[in-house]
Symmetry: C2
DNA sequence: GTATGATTCAAACATCTGTTTGAAACGAGC
DNA sequence: GCTCGTTTCAAACAGATGTTTGAATCATAC
């Protein structure tokens, strides 16, 4: 049961906080119940008592913040569309409604939004089957709405291309939030950029630049037909 | 020992292939020795005999392909710089030397490059401590070289910004390769785009668009200090 | 043939995993 | 005082984990 009705709310919250942090740091499988309960300062059996098991705990960790995040995104989009009154939105605003909201949530270090967004970022590429399906349900409505808005806002970009670029943007944001840990992997200069404003100021132009980039050229050769490989098309040389 | 000298090379290769695949699918912690050895069709003790343990196996899984990948990247950059003869390279070519090489490796489905690139993509955000340090060593030289080339090629973008955008590009590529699995999470329309040429044609423009995007405006207040912003160069509306 | 070293194999190692249990402690209502 | 439902707790559960062991098998050289 999701931390309401009966159940000690303090114990539940402590478990959720500890699990969120440890899942972010070590992943689901590498985080044991004993790590969680000892970090939370509760008895080992508490997780099974309050949540029912490890899988249910994982889902509640996401549920606690993901519903809020996606609702905030939809509300931001609603506000934009209401203000525009039928006219296509500016890509800049759409991107901000989706990614800006997430970045501002990640800015909330004390409230735990920061930890959660990092957890969410790494969960995209580490999809345990039941977690993937769980995430898919929560995201279906949001992605549909934003995809439609982007298609309307970018009539020059084919819809299929927009979906891919959406995907690429998710990747860039995920890395942006995972942030310095992965960056120091890639560079000796440690960039302690945990200022969310600055991060948004870096990421947003990148996302928009990629989203509105001119389309890639089709391969010049291959004139017609389903990829019949002819003798050996001589390239320039 | 890294699959050379003594040791049955067939057994070692089968273990590496199985481990690579299972690590990509389930992650390191969730993949047991018994899964690996049974998938490879070898005895349970074979991993410890040939590699010394699970951690050493993980490192060899990466070593097998990562050194080749990064050397190919450096060679591509070498060729570009030799051809340019001191002149700054075109960003398009630098990006292709780094990400294009990776995408072409990912295109090698039969040779295992595809599985490996997906594994590598998800490993960035799932950094077990010892794996992170291991990756950092392999990447240090490459990133240094490419960062320098990009700084030279993009004099308008501050070096720090370039490093971040490098990071964002890594994220986008990681998601691009993790590809459809995460995308179907985000959309009902299944995009079976496993054609690497098409993927590169989608990703490259996105990366370049992000890399060359105009800088984000500083917060409007904060008048003085470094980076004095002059009036505001008006672009086309 | 035998001898030697590398490789495989089944079995067991201690330790950790998620979960369950039943009794103890708690807190409010009366 | 007592009772009742909720919550905590230490202990144990069966099963899986990575690793080790010592004998069996193999290949090769003599």
């Amino acid at each position: 049961m999701s931390a309401e009705a009966k159940h000690n709310p303090d114990t539940c919250a402590r478990i959720l906080d500890a699990a969120e942090l440890l899942f972010m740091q070590h992943g689901f499988e590498a985080t044991s119940m004993r790590m969680i309960t000892s970090e939370a300062g509760v008895n080992l059996a508490a997780v099974n008592y309050h949540f029912g098991g490890k899988e249910a705990l994982i889902q509640d960790v996401f549920r606690r913040r993901l519903t809020w995040l996606n609702q905030a995104r939809l509300q931001a989009l609603d506000a934009l569309e209401a203000q525009a009154g039928g006219a296509p939105l500016k890509p800049h605003h759409i991107v901000d409604a989706f990614f800006g909201v997430a970045l501002r949530m990640a800015a909330d270090k004390l409230g735990g939004g920061y930890v959660f967004m990092r957890l969410l970022g790494r969960t995209y590429t580490e999809p345990t089957e039941f977690v993937r399906q769980f995430l898919a349900e929560g995201y279906a409505a949001v992605v549909t709405r934003f995809k439609a808005a982007l298609i309307k806002a970018l009539p020059d970009v084919p819809p299929e291309e927009i979906l891919w670029r959406f995907h690429f943007m998710l990747g860039a944001m995920s890395y942006a939030i995972s942030g310095t840990d992965a960056l120091q992997l890639v560079s000796d200069t440690r960039l302690d950029e945990h200022d969310p404003e600055a991060l948004a100021r870096r990421l947003m132009p990148f996302l928009l630049g990629g989203l509105r980039a001119p389309l890639g050229k089709l391969p010049t050769e291959r004139p017609a037909g389903p990829a019949v490989k002819r003798k050996r098309a001589p390239k320039r040389a």
